[in-house]
Amino acid sequence: MARTAGRQLGSRTAVYTVVGLFGLFASFPFLWAIVTMFKADPDLYTAGSNPFLYNKPPTLEHIRLLFQQTPYLTFVRNTVMIGVLVVLITLAFSLPAAYALARLTGHWGGRLGIAIFLVYLVPPTLLFIPLSRMVASMRLQDSIWSLVLVYPTFTIPLSTWLLSGFFKSIPRDIEEQAQVDGYSRLQAVTRTVLPLIVPGILTVVVFAFTLSMHEFIYALAFVASSDHMTISVGVPTNLVRGDVFFWQSLMASAVIVAVPVALAYNFFLDRFVQGFTMGAVKG
């Protein structure tokens, strides 16, 4: 008995140590960013003093600078606008496709479903060169519309895959009953099934939005002027100017983005993982 208790205490300590170390490793760049963002210039750029302490009083000056004297808010606005439009396009294309994969297409539907998921794995780095020509020929270069058009190429495959899993989890009887009651198939689906997969739709909204917010390569390749940049590209390329680094403002911009997104992911993580493991894990 005592031995078990001792072992349990031991494993407790081991768990806290491992989790503590990994937590520190994972979050250290952000902790360091939080310390940095409130530092006054003379404090930050003094070699030798303890960099983890405030040797001079902390200041909000650099956060004010970020919002008032850099295009950061423009980046935020562009990112949100692209994100919302991409979410709408993604839902419009992937909801019908996912329903069809889940219900209407027997064996070949399964194959097609996997094929669509594989499209998600075709990397932007293989496509950006021809796409940059296509975008130019549509006269969309250097505008957010190029990204609105291209981002669904990775959000539609993933969303279709996730949503078809949700559709499959709803019993067929529900819509069949509605059809018996005289509704057409589409009516039956919109009235009975769609309300039931609202959690799935929310999951897709979160992931389509954050994936388009994360994207870097297309945004770097297609957009050149800061007026049309997203956070992902604007912060690393546009807030670093030659030798003048706005480190405090840069770190503030990173923290402001990182925290809300991480919170949103935390809520939807389990569903996302289920989709990612492609049913290899049945929860």
Binding site: V18, P130, G182, Y183, V235, A264, V273
Partner: protein, 314 residues
């Protein structure tokens, strides 16, 4: 009763139109609902994929955007370039080393996170940060951590006496250290995804198996190596495959952290394709460099398909 009646009137109203009956036919409705998504993906993924391969056999540039086929000349030029060979080697090294780190570390972390403890929610939040933050933004935070003059790592190393106080490692200024930094950031970034996939896999191992082993008196290590890790192997495979695909094709960490430097020593295929194709305007060469990722990707895809098929059978 009233619901059924209105239903019938609705049915009666549209009865004249054959469209409703047509759409109720599964053989027609299925393809119809799939068509928009399939067309979108064919136009903006399938077509550019074919074009990327075609480009690599031409000498197309942004200044002269015509498809003029030159056979294998572009590939020959690319292969002759020492930076390309360096990029190819770096890509392989970066992918393998960072994923080895990720497999070992994520297994340890997943076993720790399986246990319930106070503050687990917060621990998970912290551990997910590298993956939930846009990678370019996370890398910027690392850029400041590895700053040549103000790196806190240098300060700590100085305090514990590993380097001279006030000395500098110049993490991103020396070839090998820069490469090690890129590997570390890439592993940092991929660790959370592998961990959550493994956690999901662990929760699907039947509790009875563990209990049976415990009752039989198998020691912790024996249970770990003979029962749990083998059972986790398929899901570890899934985690590794995703990690490999995302690491092999990424250029963001390299672009933001080192810009491929110093002297192109950290360049990878994707970043070199970008510098050549977009910044340099040699679309053909950029495409040819990127196409080198294709066989490896196809191999990964085939493996994922096999895993998916096996999951379907079981």
């Amino acid at each position: 009763m009233t619901a059924a009646n209105t239903g019938q009137t609705v049915a009666g109203e549209i009865e004249g139109r054959p469209r409703r009956y047509l759409l109720d036919r599964e053989g027609l409705l299925g393809p119809l609902l799939l068509l928009p998504a399939v067309v979108y993906l064919l136009a903006l993924v399938g077509f550019p994929l074919v074009m990327a391969i075609l480009y690599s056999f031409t000498d197309i540039t942004t200044g002269n955007p015509v498809l003029h086929f030159v056979g294998l000349d572009t590939f020959r030029d690319v292969l002759r370039d020492t930076v390309f060979r360096r990029s190819l080697r770096n890509t392989v090294v970066l992918t393998i080393v960072s994923q080895l780190l990720v497999v070992v570390l994520s297994t340890v972390l997943a076993f720790a996170l399986r246990v319930d403890f106070r503050g687990k929610w917060f621990a998970r939040f912290l551990i997910l940060l590298p993956w939930t933050t846009p990678i370019a933004i996370g890398t910027i935070a690392w850029l400041w951590m590895l700053d040549s003059l103000f790196s806190p790592i240098d300060w700590v190393l100085g305090q514990v006496g590993l380097i001279q106080q006030g000395g500098h490692m110049y993490w991103l200024g020396k070839r090998d250290l820069a490469m090690a930094s890129v590997i570390a950031v890439q592993a940092w970034r991929m660790l959370p995804l592998a961990t959550v996939i493994l956690l999901a896999g662990m929760s699907s191992i039947p509790q009875e198996i563990k209990e049976a082993a415990e009752i039989d008196g198998a020691s912790f290590w024996r249970r770990l190596f003979h029962i749990e890790l083998p059972l986790l192997l398929p899901i570890t495979g899934v985690a590794v495959l995703f990690g490999l695909v995302f690491t092999f094709t990424d250029m963001t960490v390299v672009y933001v952290l080192t810009g491929g430097g110093p002297q192109n020593s950290t360049q990878v295929l994707a970043s070199w394709a970008f510098y050549k194709g977009i910044n340099g305007g040699s679309l053909g060469q950029g495409a040819a460099i990127a196409v080198f990722m294709f066989p490896v990707l196809a191999g990964f895809a085939a493996l994922i398909l096999r895993l998916a098929n096996r999951a379907e059978v079981s």
